[in-house]
């Protein structure tokens, strides 16, 4: 069988391979190269050292990891619930899919700005709370003095903005589960929760894996929402990379930050592949 295909599959793979090499592998190695040079272009650890003693490095690392840890489970639960609603074939399920997917069409920065108008001191949230008589004077939500409050705001904005991409992947996964499996479960008397727990989730493992890997990598890169909501009150790795590249104009330290993001992404991807191995019977 394979012999009859000959070289055809490999030839067909070439375009995507070239694309990956050109636009992913090459810049990746370039970034590592830049990170290992000083601004004069000599190979040294100067830029890495500069990054490590950057005032905001540890802040940025902690905040980025905290965001990933907080956003991911929240989004998975929300996306699963949304996917089940869409998949339940309720009346107007097409409408649900449409509504849930709206945030996909909104850029990260625009979403951040929308949330600023909600959380700013003279914003929607304070107006509503004041009109309901719940608070006497506006609360400063975006205060640089409370890191966890700022992180909470970013988590809310990110959950709103980027849950739908996970939902889409899960909906696709749900729809590819053969109905016979669910019917068989019903015959044996499984309830809704048992069907979700014993049939859907195990069958969804490949989709979940894709969603987790994708979302984690994107969460490591988050910065526009953070800049919009927290300004210079909160630091994330991608934000520091941007700062060093555009404001401070030092590409080497910026590349060092990018390299940290890259390493974190690779490590987390490997961890997910290891923690959630897809067994053969789960591949549909």
């Amino acid at each position: 069988m394979a012999r009859r295909l000959g070289w055809a599959p490999y030839v067909l793979l070439v375009p995507s391979l070239v694309y990956l090499l050109l636009f992913f592998a090459a810049p990746m190695f370039q970034a590592f190269g830049l990170a290992l040079q000083d601004p004069a272009g000599n190979y040294s650890l100067t830029s890495i050292e500069r990054m490590l003693r950057d005032v905001n490095f540890s802040n940025a690392l902690v905040t980025t990891l905290a965001l990933v840890v907080l956003v991911l489970p929240l989004q998975l639960v929300l996306a699963m619930a949304m996917a089940l609603v869409v998949n339940a074939k309720l009346k107007g399920s097409g409408l649900w899919l449409f509504v849930f997917a709206i945030p996909l069409g909104i850029s990260e920065l625009a979403a951040g700005i929308v949330w600023v108008s909600v959380f700013t001191q003279r914003g929607w949230l304070n107006s509503v709370l004041q009109n309901l008589g719940l608070i006497d004077r506006p609360i400063v939500w975006q205060s640089a003095e409370s890191m966890w409050l700022l992180i909470t705001l970013v988590v809310i904005a990110e959950a709103w903005r980027a849950t739908s991409i996970i939902m889409i992947i899960l909906v696709a996964g749900l729809q590819s589960i053969p109905p016979e499996f669910l019917e068989a479960a019903e015959v044996y008397g499984a309830g809704t929760w048992q069907k979700v727990r014993r049939v859907m989730l195990p069958m969804l493992r490949p989709a979940l894996l894709v969603a987790l890997v994708l979302r984690t990598i994107l969460a490591f890169q988050v910065f526009a929402t953070v800049i919009a909501l927290a300004g210079s009150g909160l630091h994330v790795l991608a934000g520091e990379a941007r700062l060093w590249a555009t404001s401070i104009d030092n590409d080497n330290v910026a590349a060092a930050y990018a390299a940290v993001i890259l390493v974190l992404s690779i490590v987390s991807t490997i961890a997910f592949l290891w923690l959630l191995p897809v067994r053969e019977e789960q591949q549909i």
């Binding site: 005032v55 009150g233 104009d249």
Partner: protein, 456 residues
Amino acid sequence: MHTHARSRLSGYLAIGFAVGLLVAACGPAATSPSPAAPGTDEPMSPSPATDAPSGSLTMISSQLVPVAEAEKMQNTILANFAGEVQFVGADSGPFNDQIRAQEEAGTGDISLIGGLHGEFSAFAAEGLLMDLSDVVAEVGDVNAEYLELGKLGTEQQIYIPWMQNTYIMAARQEAMEYLPEGADLNALTWEQVSEWGAAITDATGERVLGFPAGPDGLWHRFFQGYAYPAFTGGVNTTFASEAAAGMWSWLTDTWSTSVNPQSTTYSFMQEPLQSGEVWIAWDHAARLIEALRNMPEDIVAFPAPAGPEGRAFMPVVAGLAIPNSAPDPEGAKELIKYLLSAETQATTLREVAFFPVITADLPGDLEPGTQAEQEAIATMTSASDALPSLLPIGLGDQGTAYNQVFRDAFQQIVLDGGDPATVLPERLPDLQATFDASGAACWPPDPPSDGPCQAQ
């Protein structure tokens, strides 16, 4: 009367800037450009602009970068120019990169550069800029001190002054009743501002002082041109001094009692002033103007307060220069003449609140917001304790790293609660590195230095 006030203002700013720069020029490394004179191997006139789109001219600028300002420049200020102009506002990093990249390639789109004295002195030192002596006669009555500064101490006219500005204060009327007893709004001290803010916090429970400490705010200029010189009499030579530690303690106390903690999200103070989140603010005049224009009855402009060493303020003079590699130098010269005409200078003032550098009377009256800013600036620059503190000179592409030192110190001391006595010495090496890398000598108000400025 308006026009009289205008030329007076122009004069004061000019004197402040000129005095400072002349002191700086005493330092040997200050400005020693190696201009690209005819006869050097530097290409004076590039190959004819055959590859440039005919009739379209590109101007890159480190000024008027915010989208709203860039849009007004492109669509209103440049609208009546005979040719087509593409205005590109660029942050410091890309600004330096693009100009140097064009010079290295020997060809490119940029015909005209709008920038600051310090930026031009770096470009001129690398021989990137064309002599504009022939343009001077054609632009007419530009402020003479500024023109002299544009020569960077050479025989050639390296840049032509374009527009000027500075940083001031603004406050909402409801703050006035809390002004400390006996305090004069036009001659405040920074200590009085703290008392003022604290009084409002006591009365209302809200922290209403505001600073542009957001990612795109000009917060570093507050330290370089206002807080440091006002409290220590210098910037770089007093960076880690006892007086500096005192200034940081003052700011930390003020911040925790009366500065709105949302300040780290503000890039322009005109918005929080209008919404009422902030009652008293410091910022660039062009970043306060919308508040003063939209609410002239409710918001007042006033001079920057003084510290123990004087009423420090930072005059900003932007200029225009043509790179040797310009594809259309003649078109660029026409554009310089256009930008310096009385009509365009008046439009610039109206649209983006940058003040004129020409001495001629401007057509039309000023509306109240601009008028208020102008009076505040005139009072500030002519105050008996005025202490002009210049934008960095000679730092070139180290300017951004220089700014970051001040922002890092702020982060560590005020936001993270560090002790100035330990944080400031920690930041000194970063500060010194920018002088060593650029060779920049000290500039006023620091005393002139032999060789690179020595941070202390």
